[in-house]
Amino acid sequence: MPPLTVVIADAERTTRAACRRGLLSEKRIRVVREARNAMETIAAADLKPRILLLSLTALGGHGVSLLPIIRGKSPSTRVLLLTGRASEARILDALSHGAQGYLPRKILPDMLVRAVLAVDAGEAWVPRKMVGKIIERLARLTGRARGRA
């Protein structure tokens, strides 16, 4: 079975280390690169990892903007966000730009393998409560697209 390649993108060394620790238990998973800033993350997209663990706020605040770039360079990469104090709106933005889920940093290293495997399998890793917010935003976007309230 081919390895499940992962790139970890977060400015905080402790977070990156926690991610590595969290992923150790699953032999299939291979961390192929750690990115410490936005530029390194862009470069890492060329590796076309299966999963990108992407800090939403700890990359100079560029988290969301990086998503279209990554999508363009590696459409098959699935993004799992690492969140800290990110607002719900920010998270929704990230989901709207192609992230497939998010995990609060303070939960690391627990749940990380489960989240990574789920996202690899095509699932979204979001709490149920977020579903309503996604729909609200969908409704708002459609309203504008159609040109009526």
Binding site: A44, H62, L66, G72, L95, H97, Q100, V131, L138, R144
Partner: protein, 247 residues
């Protein structure tokens, strides 16, 4: 939400199939106060009269018109949270149902234990869908967002005209995430030459910082070198440069 003591919430079950109504009733009885409607006329009357907290709506209900019947149902009782049930769930319908205000999109033979859980969650104000439906919702959100943003990048095209070919080369490499050192090596110039070029580029494009530059380049989805060449080729035979109007 005002708590009127321990009175259980009212759930209205609307399905043409008696067996289904019984099954759903059995799953919810004891926790919820259950009423039934077997056809559209009864549904409309009961909705208006009772304004139940929750409606379990079987899309197979004759004359409902499937999802299209949702707005009318909502009008009869705006406070009622509607959960839609279908024997053949599929993505597009589910998305339409949720957009039309449904609080749940489920299979008709949903496991009774899950059904009870789902109704309880919807009562609390959450939306219930199958777990593997959520990626579809996110995909839909992403595709709508993409659509809205594509219009924005056209205005930037003319700005690249201001750059020299060398500057465009450097910008293209920044867009790929390369460092000044890597760019200098590739172009066989000194690193400080690259930095000097960058300062000029930032000024010409009105951007500060290489990350913003990288984002700008990638947002346009085109190679800055190729795109300007195409642009220039279009100008052959005309004296005035063609400027694309910003949106």
């Amino acid at each position: 939400m005002a708590d009127r003591g321990r009175a259980p919430s009212q759930v209205l079950i609307a399905s043409p199939t008696e067996e289904r109504r019984n099954r759903w009733r059995r799953a919810l009885e004891g926790v919820f106060d259950v009423e039934e409607a077997g056809d559209l006329a009864v549904l409309d009357r009961t909705l208006t009269a009772l304004k139940p907290a929750i409606l379990l709506l079987d899309l197979a209900l004759p004359r409902l018109g499937g999802i299209d019947g949702l707005p009318a149902v909502k009008r009869l009782s705006p406070t009622t949270k509607t959960m839609v049930f279908t024997g053949h769930p599929h993505e597009k319908e589910g998305i339409s149902a949720l957009r039309a205000g449904a609080m749940g999109y489920c299979e008709t033979d949903l496991d009774p234990v899950l059904l009870k859980k789902a109704v309880a969650l919807v009562q609390k104000g959450e939306v219930w869908v199958r777990r593997n439906f959520i990626p579809c919702l996110i995909e839909e959100l992403a595709s709508l967002t993409d659509f809205r943003q594509k219009g924005a990048s056209a205005k930037w095209v003319s700005r690249l005209d201001r750059l020299t070919p060398r500057e465009r080369e450097i910008v293209s490499m920044i867009g790929k995430g390369q460092t000044n050192k890597e760019i200098a090596a590739r172009l066989r110039v000194k690193e400080k030459t690259v930095k000097a070029h960058l300062t000029t580029v930032f000024r010409k494009l009105g951007l500060t910082g290489r990350v913003r530059l990288a984002l700008f380049i990638n947002e346009r989805e085109q190679d800055p070198i190729a795109s300007v060449e195409t642009h220039e080729r279009g100008e052959m035979g005309s004296r005035r440069p063609i400027r694309l109007k910003p949106n």
